[in-house]
C-alpha cells in the first residue's frame, strides 16, 4: 500500500515548465533522497509535497487524503536556514511544535508544565538540554538544525520534508547529523523526503534515490522543457540491493 502518491504532476512558472509527468509512489517509512543539478526542480517538487505550492496538473496525496491546499500538520519541514524561531528560547521552540495548534498558540497552566517536560525530553534526545534557555542565535549551525528537526518532530507529522538540511554545515558536523537523523528515523519509522546536493549523502541515508533531470533538452531554448524523475535507484545496502540472500539455501555459510 503506497503512503505518498504523486500522480501525473506538472508544474510551470509562467510559460516556463519546471516539472512534467512526475509519478511517484512511496511506502510508509521509506527514506527518499532527491538529487539533481541546480534548477532542475527538486526544490519545487519538495514545495509541492509541502503544499506550499499547488501543481498545475496532478495531485499529491498522503495516506489517501485529499490533496492539501496549504502546509499543515501532516507535513513537517526543515529548511537549510530560518527553520527555528529566533524570538523563542530553545525550549519554547520545541514547545511551539505542539502549542501552535492551539487557538492562542500556547499552553496554559498545568498543560504548559507537562509540555515543557516533554520538550526537555526531546531536547535531551537532540543533545540540547544544556542550552534550553538560550536563544537560537547563540547556537552553532548543527545545533540549530538538530533543534529544527526536534521541533518538526514534536508536531508528530506523517511525512518529514528536508530541504538541503545539512547544506550549510561543515563536513564533521554533517556526519554527526547523519547519525542523529538515522537514529531518530530508526526510532520513529518516519517517512522522509530529503533534497540534497550531496550524492554520497543521498545514497548513505536514503532507501531510494530519485534523480531529477530534463529528459528532453533543446540547446537553443534550455527552458523549453521541464524536469522529471529520470532514475529511481534502490539505495539500500549502500546502493547495491538484492545482494543479500532472502531464502535459506541449506548450504553451510559462515555466520
Amino acid at each position: 500500500m503506497s503512503f505518498v502518491v504523486a500522480q501525473d504532476i506538472f508544474q510551470s512558472y509562467g510559460s516556463r515548465p519546471i516539472l512534467e509527468r512526475i509519478n511517484l509512489e512511496v511506502a510508509q517509512g521509506e527514506f527518499i533522497s532527491i538529487v539533481g543539478a541546480s534548477g532542475c526542480g527538486k526544490s519545487t517538487f519538495l514545495r509541492l509535497l509541502l503544499a506550499q505550492e499547488r501543481p498545475a496538473r496532478g495531485s499529491i496525496r498522503i495516506d489517501g487524503n485529499p490533496p492539501a491546499t496549504e502546509p499543515g500538520l501532516e507535513r513537517g519541514v526543515v529548511f537549510q536556514r530560518y527553520s527555528v524561531f529566533p524570538h523563542l528560547t530553545i525550549r519554547e521552540n520545541v514547545v511551539a511544535g505542539e502549542a501552535f495548534q492551539r487557538p492562542w498558540g500556547r499552553f496554559f497552566g498545568a498543560e504548559a508544565k507537562v509540555a515543557r517536560a516533554r520538550a526537555d525530553e526531546t531536547l535531551a534526545r537532540c543533545g540540547l538540554e544544556h542550552v534550553a534557555d538560550q536563544y537560537p542565535a547563540t547556537l552553532s549551525g548543527g545545533m540549530q538544525q538538530r533543534l529544527a528537526i526536534g521541533q518538526a518532530l514534536a508536531a508528530k507529522p506523517r511525512v518529514l520534508l528536508l530541504d538541503e538540511p545539512f547544506g550549510a554545515l561543515d563536513p564533521g558536523t554533517r556526519l554527526a547529523m547523519h547519525d542523529f537523523l538515522m537514529e531518530l528515523r530508526a526510532e520513529t519509522g518516519m517517512t522522509v523526503f530529503m533534497v540534497t546536493h550531496d550524492l554520497e549523502e543521498g545514497f548513505k541515508l536514503g532507501d531510494r534515490v530519485l534523480v531529477f533531470d530534463k529528459p528532453r533538452w533543446d540547446p537553443t531554448d534550455p527552458d523549453a522543457y521541464g524536469a522529471t524523475i529520470t532514475y529511481d535507484f534502490d539505495a539500500r545496502n549502500g546502493g547495491i540491493p538484492f545482494q543479500t540472500l532472502k531464502e535459506d539455501t541449506h548450504v553451510f555459510r559462515p555466520q
Binding site: 506550499q52 530560518y82 527553520s83 508536531a155
Partner: protein, 259 residues
C-alpha cells in the same frame, strides 16, 4: 578615553558659544541674541522654580506636562495602529493588495499642509494637535513595519503552518513578537518628527505647551528663555530615546543586532 572623546564635541560647542557670547556682550552689554551662559542658568533656575506672577503656577512644568501628554497620545496611537496595519499588510496578501498602495499615496501628503483642515475640523483644542502627530508619523510607521514584517523569512511562516498554526496564531506568535522590537526602533526614529509636528501645531494655536511658550517669548526676543526651553526639549527627547532603547534591550534580548 572614550568618555573624553564623547564629551569633546559638547565641550567645544559650549566653549564656542561662551566665547561668541562674551565678545558680543563686550561690545553691547544689552545684547539679547547670545545671552551669557550664566544668564541662561539664572533664567533656567527661575523658570523651573518660580511661579507665574498672575497664577502662581510654575509654567515650565505645566508646559512640559501639556506637551508630553499630546506627544504620548499622538505617538501611542500611531504606534498602535502602525503595529496593527503593518502586521496585517505584511502578513496577509489580501490586506497588502488592499492597503499598500493607499498607504503609499497617503504617506506623501505633507502633514503640515493638512494642519488648517485639522484646526477647522477638530478645533483648536488638544485633539487637533494629537491628530497632527498621528497624521504626521502614522504612514511612516505603517510603511516601516510593513517592510520589517515582510523581512520575516518565508520559511518561518511555512514552518509555523506545518506546526498547525492558524493565521491568527502566526500573527500572534510569529509576527507580533518579532516586530515589537522593530516597532520600538521605528518609534525612536519618529520621535523627532513627532516633536516637529507638536511644536508646529502649538506655535500656531495653543494656550500652553513648550512650543507655544517658545513662540510666545519670541516676541520679546527672550533668547535666554528660548534657549532654556530648547535645551529642555532636547533633554526630554534624548531621555525618551534612551528609555526606548533600554526597554528594547531588556524586553527583547534575542534581537541584539541593530538596536
Amino acid at each position: 578615553m572614550a568618555g573624553f572623546l564623547a564629551a569633546l564635541p559638547f565641550v567645544v560647542v559650549l566653549i564656542a558659544y561662551a566665547v561668541a557670547s562674551h565678545y558680543r556682550l563686550l561690545e553691547n552689554p544689552n545684547d539679547k541674541l547670545l545671552p551669557a551662559p550664566s544668564t541662561i542658568l539664572e533664567t533656567a533656575q527661575r523658570l523651573f522654580t518660580e511661579g507665574d506672577r498672575r497664577t502662581g503656577r510654575v509654567l515650565l512644568w505645566y508646559d512640559t506636562a501639556a506637551s508630553l501628554q499630546r506627544l504620548a497620545l499622538g505617538v501611542g496611537i500611531s504606534a498602535f495602529f502602525g503595529l496593527v496595519f503593518g502586521l496585517l499588510i505584511g502578513l496577509l496578501p489580501y490586506a497588502r493588495t488592499t492597503f499598500a498602495g493607499f498607504v503609499a499615496v497617503i504617506s506623501m501628503i505633507p502633514p503640515l499642509a493638512l494642519l488648517p483642515i485639522l484646526f477647522i475640523i477638530f478645533g483648536l483644542g488638544e485633539l487637533s494637535k494629537v491628530v497632527l502627530i498621528v497624521v504626521g508619523i502614522l504612514p511612516f510607521l505603517i510603511r516601516d513595519l510593513t517592510g520589517r514584517t515582510l523581512e520575516i523569512p518565508r520559511e518561518q511562516i511555512v514552518k509555523a503552518e506545518t506546526l498547525g498554526a492558524s493565521t491568527w496564531v502566526i500573527v500572534l506568535r510569529v509576527g507580533l513578537p518579532q516586530i515589537l522590537p522593530r516597532l520600538i526602533q521605528a518609534v525612536r526614529l519618529s520621535i523627532g518628527p513627532a516633536w516637529l509636528f507638536l511644536i508646529a501645531s502649538e506655535a500656531i494655536a495653543s494656550d500652553q505647551g513648550l512650543g507655544y511658550r517658545i513662540f510666545l517669548v519670541r516676541r520679546y526676543l527672550a533668547m535666554d528663555v528660548i534657549l532654556t526651553y530648547v535645551i529642555w526639549i532636547t533633554l526630554l527627547a534624548f531621555l525618551i530615546d534612551w528609555a526606548l532603547k533600554t526597554l528594547s534591550r531588556k524586553a527583547f534580548p534575542w534581537a541584539e543586532e541593530g538596536l
